[in-house]
């Protein structure tokens, strides 16, 4: 229980306390804030680890009028994502902030600004932790909404300084799109709540949609899937993501890719598949089709994208396409693959954004066309991190990205009974082609950035902290890649429960 409190309150206290500290001690050096926020993030991670090990359950009376209880619990599906959130919180607070000083004349202002920055990071983590802990649909939804404001601020205030209007527009778009999606989801959730008379997710999974007529279930599943698709994002609702990533500060990108996008897929797993199985089965082919279109679409876009951050954003769309495809297949294998791919993408994209964020700072831009030093020679550590990240991102076996992709293709080839088999085989073929595209764009980027004979401009290599962060992520990526049972064994029992509806 103490771990749970730590996991929930550490980020919350950090988000509230740091600005207060900056206000009370205006001359507080930036280092104090940085270390402080890192401390809070580490406390969160500790709390999360403890929670995952201890598996406490909390159930408090909250809003009786809406039948909502404040339920927090951990199971095999949420545990990896919680750990991911905790870890990425540490990563995001550990990487240098790179906030530009040009718009802050005084030192006091600078420290309050920095405090706001860290508060936003911790606030996002708080929301995500709540979300993954939630055992109640509305608590999940509130966590889902909690991340919006800090993320908005993070992008709008600390985003790409060059065209600031652009960062603000991107942040606003992020907010609008996600809010639209989450409201659609909310409507679905409320419909389920009305039909089942509770918002407890476990009860929902046990009822397995038995309270719905067929058209009702279809409408509800459609709403939920549509709403979550904005967040995931699924093609064609993805257009916000590249923009937001290219504008966001690197810590923001890390959290966005590694944690926030996971909320969408986690929502599909928690709120849709077990809750309205029949409705989901009906729309699964469409969803799977969109996912595969997204895989190929994003892969193609990566072939010509000039902005490195945006390119990684595109690749995220492709990877989440695999996750969604796995879910759409409706089999245990598919869901296992999806959950694995979800976590793997979190770690890998986090790693890539750490690298690319630093590179963007060093280069003064993330455009592939500007003359960049060949990283392999100029900054071997960054170079290694980049090539490793892309290797993992293209699904190289032995690294984490592989299992999710392979599993998704397998699952699409053998969809659950009732799904159109031939169509899903086509989807599997499309996904495999998309995986080849990943190799093509990875090779393109590495050829352009990693190898090369240019040695100017010389850039600084990774610092000690950054190196530590990269090393930790590399170890995780390799660990998951080499020993996938770490994750698969955690999710397997819950997956079979969710799919069969048995308690």
């Amino acid at each position: 229980m103490i771990w749970l409190l730590l996991a929930v309150f550490a980020p919350l206290l950090g988000a509230l306390g740091l600005p207060l500290l900056a206000r009370l001690v205006p001359k507080a050096p930036a280092r104090v804030l940085g270390v402080g926020s890192l401390g809070f993030a580490i406390a969160t991670l500790t709390g999360v680890v403890g929670t995952v090990l201890e598996r406490p359950k909390v159930s408090l009376e909250w809003i009786p009028a809406l039948g909502v209880r404040f339920d927090l619990a951990v199971d095999g599906i949420s545990a990896p994502l919680l750990l991911l959130t905790g870890l990425m919180g540490v990563v995001a607070t550990a990487v240098p902030a790179h906030i530009d000083a040009d718009n802050a004349p005084g030192a006091a202002v600078e420290s309050s600004r920095l405090a706001l920055y860290y508060a936003c990071l911790l606030g996002t983590i708080f929301g995500a932790v709540i979300c993954f802990l939630a055992g109640d649909a509305l608590v999940f939804f509130i966590g889902f909404e909690c991340v919006l404001l800090p993320m908005w601020l993070l992008i709008a205030q600390f985003g790409d300084p060059a065209p600031q209007a652009l960062a603000r527009a991107a942040s606003l778009r992020f907010l609008m799109v996600t809010a639209l999606g989450s409201t659609l989801m909310l409507i679905g959730l409320l419909a389920v709540a009305a039909s089942t008379g509770t918002t407890n997710l476990q009860v929902w999974a046990q009822l397995a949609g038995s309270t719905f007529s067929r058209p009702q279930g279809l409408v509800v599943a459609g709403l939920l899937v549509l709403g979550l698709s904005f967040k995931v994002p699924v093609w064609p609702l993805h257009t916000w993501l590249p923009w937001v990533h290219s504008s966001a500060p690197s810590a923001g990108s890390i959290l966005l890719a590694a944690v926030l996008l996971k909320l969408g897929t986690y929502g599909l797993v928690r709120l849709v598949i077990p809750v309205v199985p029949a409705g989901f089965a009906t729309i699964a082919p469409v969803l799977g089709g969109f996912a595969v279109v997204g895989i190929i679409w994003a892969g193609l876009a990566c072939l010509v994208e000039r902005d490195l951050k945006r390119l990684i954003a595109w690749s995220s769309i492709a990877h989440l396409g695999f996750v969604v495809l796995g879910l759409a297949s409706g089999t245990e294998a598919g869901m296992q693959a999806a959950l694995f791919g979800n976590v793997a993408h979190g770690v890998i994209s986090g790693l890539l954004f750490v690298v690319v964020g630093a590179l963007k700072h060093e280069w003064g831009g993330a455009d592939l066309g500007t003359p960049h030093a060949s990283l392999r020679e100029a900054a071997p550590h960054w170079g290694f991190a980049l090539i490793f990240g892309f290797a993992a991102s293209m699904g190289l076996p032995g690294l984490a990205g592989f299992w999710g992709e392979f599993g998704a293709i397998y699952a699409a080839w053998t969809p659950a009974p009732g799904r159109p088999g031939g169509f899903f085989v086509l989807l599997a073929v499309g996904a495999a082609v998309g995986a080849a595209l990943a190799a093509a764009y990875s090779a393109r980027v590495l050829r352009e950035v990693w190898g090369g004979e240019r040695t100017k401009p010389a850039i600084a290599d990774a610092g000690r902290i950054e190196l530590l962060v990269v090393a930790a992520l590399v170890v995780i990526v390799v660990g998951l890649g080499v020993y996938p049972s770490l994750l698969l064994d955690s999710t397997a029992p819950v997956v079979s429960t969710l799919l069969t509806g048995a308690p």
Binding site: M176, A301, T331, E332, P397, A443, R447, G452, V482
Partner: protein, 668 residues
């Protein structure tokens, strides 16, 4: 070996003089299975090397060689322990919880794969030893050594895999390592391009491989090769054909079969030891290993069989022809690899039903030995002469006597001259194909017989050509050619600078004794390897088909003589100089395969990508942007049309009520 069946005069059984094999039960038991060591050791050493400081080249080399030696010992150990029948099975990180799909992730090593492992380990060791010398001054030698070690591990994984997923893991890791090795000299734009091309082409084909594995696993509900074989042998059909064709696509990519062949010659951009590894023992041979494991399934689908036979036959002939016209010795070897690997795969299609894939694997082994010998010798020569272009290496073996022996041996083995290892394996393939023709579904075997038979003289021809150039008399006067008169000959004119740059003795003494020992080992094996089919590891039909033998050797001799004849009168003794200039150029460019890739795949894909981005930007995103803009526009319009005069607001009010009443009425 296998007990020979009785034959006629045309088909003489070779007397059984199989080498006796003692029992090795006295070897101590180690924790885990030997295959763990075989695969694990190179991985561990790769990590150890990689973890060294960047400048620790010496220590890297020590670790690299140590790793190689230990791996070799492990492979040998495994070979000694492996039973003659059946296979050794070992656990890995599996089984994985993947719903209905069983992923046991077992390793499984049988006799023939154990010897293949040994060869792989041996060649990897030699390559490591050689690379230490070859890359003496390379600041990135450490990464190279680590990658080679990992590469070896991946190949050994494929060889020892008992599970489709493990095979896929090794398969892809190899592809990635080859990418790193080819692009090792990343300051060169051509190396970067070649590396990217290798990666993209093989990964594209791997889409087929992955789907093939998925299809096989989907039917069998397991990814263990054993389970897959068992399931699909019981239920052949369209699904199996689809799966096998997909697998063949994947194999075609890795093994550089037409139409995926073009990446391999380009891969010459990597350092020569890397080429030796890629071409000889790993990467390209992996396809043969996988299909060898799947041989019964391949044989039960005639469409798959035909697909592979046609692709392999076309490739072997085409590549042999192209090899002949290459102006670069390394590229010649590259094309010869394409040709030889196609022969292995072709052999698989020609094997009679019921027999094992040993013939193909024997050729794999034999090719691994002589091709690595050739590559290392050529690399050695290149160091001495300054390059591998024919103009540089011309008269090479005359000037540097020490490379004469290994190069000569290698070329003879490649050409298939008895009794070298290349001869034995190729001859056995022909024998096997010949008996394959006789059975019911003999079409592919016939095709293979024809292609391999026709390939033999072609191989002999390009080997002879290479030798003639290498062995050119030193006293040929250097021509100060007037350009345009004799284009081809001029193309091969030796630059004076190379001859004068380094004294002969100095250059020869430059090679380290260890590297030389490695080359020598391979040379010895090239000679002794001819005995391999007589060991218990290979179950091959040891027949001596006299007409086949005579005709093959006759054709080869004729081709060689023709080349000799053609080379007369050419100053460089390059028979290919007789070819029209355009043909030569086209051959150098691989018949424009790269251009075709560009035109058929790359450019359309990029065009598609651009249209995708355009669509994304202007269609999909315009809805989003349009929603934002239209909200603001609506707001502005709403603001402008909102009544500000009492009369208008009253009208709005009452009009609204009227509308609502109508609406309510209509509803009620």
């Amino acid at each position: 070996m296998k007990a020979p069946t009785s034959g006629s005069w045309t088909d003489i059984a070779v007397p059984d003089f199989s080498i006796p094999w003692p029992s090795f039960d006295f070897l101590p038991d180690l924790p885990g299975e030997m295959s763990h060591y075989v695969i694990g050791l190179p991985v561990i050493f790769a990590i150890l090397i990689w973890a060294l400081p960047a400048k620790a080249l010496g220590r890297s080399a020590v670790l690299a060689v140590l790793g190689g030696v230990l791996t070799l010992i492990a492979a040998l150990w495994q070979l000694l322990l492996v039973p003659t029948e059946g296979s050794m099975v070992a656990q890995t990180v599996g089984p994985l919880a993947f719903g209905d799909l069983e992923i046991p992730l077992l390793l499984s090593t049988s006799n023939v794969f154990a010897i293949t492992s040994l060869v792989v380990a041996l060649i990897a060791l030699v390559v490591q030893v050689f690379a230490r010398w070859y890359l003496w001054f390379d600041p990135r030698y450490r990464q190279f050594a680590a990658t080679v070690s990992l590469f070896t591990a991946a190949m050994l994984l494929v060889v020892n895999s008992g599970d489709a997923v493990l095979t896929l893991v090794g398969w892809e890791v190899m592809g990635w390592c080859s990418y790193l090795l080819i692009g090792h000299l990343s300051a060169k734009a051509s190396a970067r391009r070649a590396a990217a091309k290798a990666l993209i082409v093989t990964r594209l084909a791997d889409a087929g491989f992955v789907l093939g594995i998925v299809a096989l696993a989907a039917g069998a509900q397991t990814t263990s090769w054993e389970g897959i074989l068992e399931h699909w042998s019981r239920s052949p059909g369209t699904a199996l054909t689809v799966a096998m064709v997909l697998m063949i696509i994947g194999v075609a990519g890795k093994s550089a079969l037409f139409p995926f062949h073009d990446w391999l010659p380009d891969a010459m951009e990597g350092p020569t030891p890397a080429s030796a590894l890629i071409h000889a023992a790993t990467m390209v041979a992996a396809g043969t290993i996988v299909l060898a494991q799947l041989l019964p399934l391949l044989q039960s689908s005639s469409i798959a069989l035909w697909t592979l036979a046609i692709a392999a036959s076309v490739t072997t002939l085409l590549a042999a022809l192209l090899a002949f016209a290459q102006p670069d010795l390394k590229r010649l070897l590259a094309w010869s690899t394409v040709s030889q690997v196609a022969i292995m795969l072709a052999a698989l299609t020609a094997i009679p039903v019921g027999e094992g894939p040993d013939v193909a694997l024997l050729h794999l082994t034999s090719h691994a030995i002589f091709k690595s010998l050739l590559f290392l010798a050529v690399g050695w020569l290149a160091v001495l002469t300054g390059g591998t272009v024919m103009v540089y290496v011309a008269s090479g073996v005359r000037r540097y006597g020490s490379v004469r022996w290994p190069l000569g041996m290698g070329l003879l083995a490649l050409a298939g001259v008895p009794p070298l290892v290349g001869f034995v394996s190729k001859e056995l393939i022909l024998v096997s194909a010949e008996s394959g023709v006789a059975q019911t579904n003999g079409g592919p075997a016939l095709l293979v017989l024809a292609a391999v038979g026709a390939g033999a003289p072609l191989t002999a021809a390009y080997c002879m050509r290479a030798w003639l150039i290498l062995d050119r008399a030193l006293d040929v006067p250097v021509v100060s050619a007037t350009r345009g008169q004799e284009v081809i000959d001029d193309f091969f004119t030796e630059p004076e600078v190379v001859a004068e740059a380094i004294g002969v003795e100095e250059a020869e003494s430059a090679i380290s004794s260890s590297a030389r020992a490695g080359v020598t080992t391979l040379g010895v094996l090239t000679v002794l390897g001819g005995l391999l089919p007589f060991t218990t590891w290979f179950e091959v039909d040891l027949h001596l088909n006299i007409p086949l033998l005579v005709s093959t050797i006759g054709l080869m001799a004729a081709a060689a003589l023709a080349v000799v004849a053609a080379s007369r009168g050419v100053r460089t003794r390059d028979a290919a100089a007789r070819l029209p200039a355009r043909l030569s150029l086209m051959a150098e460019r691989g018949l424009g395969a790269d251009t075709a890739y560009q035109a058929l795949v790359t450019r359309p894909t990029l065009k598609l990508a651009r249209s995708v981005v355009w669509l994304d930007q202007h269609i999909l995103d315009s809805y989003v942007r349009g929603a934002g803009a239209s909200a603001r526009w609506l707001g502005q319009v709403g603001q402008d049309v909102s009544p500000t005069r009492p009369a208008k607001s009253l009208a709005l009010l009452l009009g609204g009520v009227g509308l609502l009443v109508v609406l309510g009425w209509w509803w009620a």
